[in-house]
Amino acid sequence: MFISYLLSGVSLGAIYALIALGYTMVYGIAKMLNFAHGDVIMVGGYVAFTLSVTLGGSAWVAIIGSIVFCTLVGIVIEKVAYKPLRSASKLAVLITAIGVSYFLQNLALLIFGSNSRNFQSLVSIPVISIGQATVPGETIVTIGVSILIVIGLMLFINKSKSGAAMLAVSEDRGAAELMGINVNKTISLTFAIGSGLAAIAGILMCSQYPMIGPYTGQMPGIKAFIAAVFGGIGSIPGAMIGGVVIGIIENLSKAYISSQLSDAITFVILILTLVIKPTGLFGKKLKEKV
């Protein structure tokens, strides 16, 4: 039993990790917490739902459509809501992000109503048995897809020119501009990637827990935020490891402690991280050298 609890914890954690990557990249590069990020998952879920269930499209149409749509949503949110606040106080940006989050939730409420809809899994892989444990196909796909995405993302950031620009902007925006890097474009690209990942996370999550409602993105968004903080906000490996750890802890505490308490336990991790090591596992404190 333990193995299957553990595996489904890893797969839940992989979803958190995909969401946490968006949080952490946007934080690292735009220096803001995009609290609307969780709701992009919900948007992704609804788009996939509409394309596959309502319009009867194939799984691939739903998946690609959802990723493209969310990428655009991310770019538009950044342009409309955050870009005008580039030199505003951090608090103003944070409040705006919360406003965007409410806006997306209420827009979904308006379009789809308050009832949750049944989502049909877009993954058609049968249950797999490992020894005595049985593992749903969704779990395997989620873990596999997440690993591939993380490898791809690391390659993109460390090998491509746009990736180098992202690293430069995240370290010193002014110096990056002096290199000829278009900072606005780089921030826009970051939002695009983060939102695309959120769409994938949304599809994977709705395939495993087949319900979608206007508030579907809220809790996973917060958990992923905790994962990002736990791993060290701004750090990509931190977001991945943080996500997986939070997922495992949540699932194991559901199984062995109490399913009602599992959320509380996750939040205790946030509090402990902030008290004991606010920079998280991989957070860096930069030393200035003159």
């Binding site: 020119k161 180098a164 690293l167 370290e171 501009e177 002096l178 290199m179 000829g180 030393k287």
Partner: protein, 237 residues
Amino acid sequence: MALLEIKDMEVSYGFIRAIKGISFKVEKGEIIALIGANGAGKTTTLHALSGLIPLDAGSITFNEQDLTKIPAHERVAMGMAQVPEGRRVFQQLTVQKNLMLGAYSRKDQSGIAENLDEVFTRFPRLKERRNQIAGTLSGGEQQMLAMGRALMSKPDIMLLDEPSMGLSPILVSEIFDIIKHINESGTTVLLVEQNAKKALSIANRAYVLETGNIILSGKAEDLMNDDSVRKAYLGES
């Protein structure tokens, strides 16, 4: 036509009017020094030239183009590179990555590779440490990296902000020699320095900036012999 011409430039930093209407010119091939005390507006001037802060009034003309409305990142491709105050190398990236970021606005791969070789010849220490993280370099090495990084954009003009800051006298001399060599191989230099003596020793002409105004200008050697300059900036009585 001068390579770089600034006319009646006014710049504010927050609520403070830091530059109160200055005009100056840099001709192709020159080394121009902009000297002045702390807070005179030297760094603000360079930030305005690179486009990091907007002008309140006046104009900047570079290579016969009006820069006033051109965003900072496009000015690099036009031939303007800055070595900022405090070097500001990317501490977490390797030496080589820092240098490649200097060539960000270029697309000619073979030209970039050639340029990288040139930079490594000019700064052998950077070649030895090409795979080292820039944050682990010494202050002098970071200054060299910042200069190499600026050279990677193949600039027509290089703006240098306080290259001597925090370096030992021997290193300062070394850095100034390098600046001279860079100029001799065809790059125009605009140098901002508190170390007026050193700056005047390599410059062709200089401007003296005081609380946002240019109060004096002329040939470097004339300024070096000017009584008021000697008293105020060269530490002589």
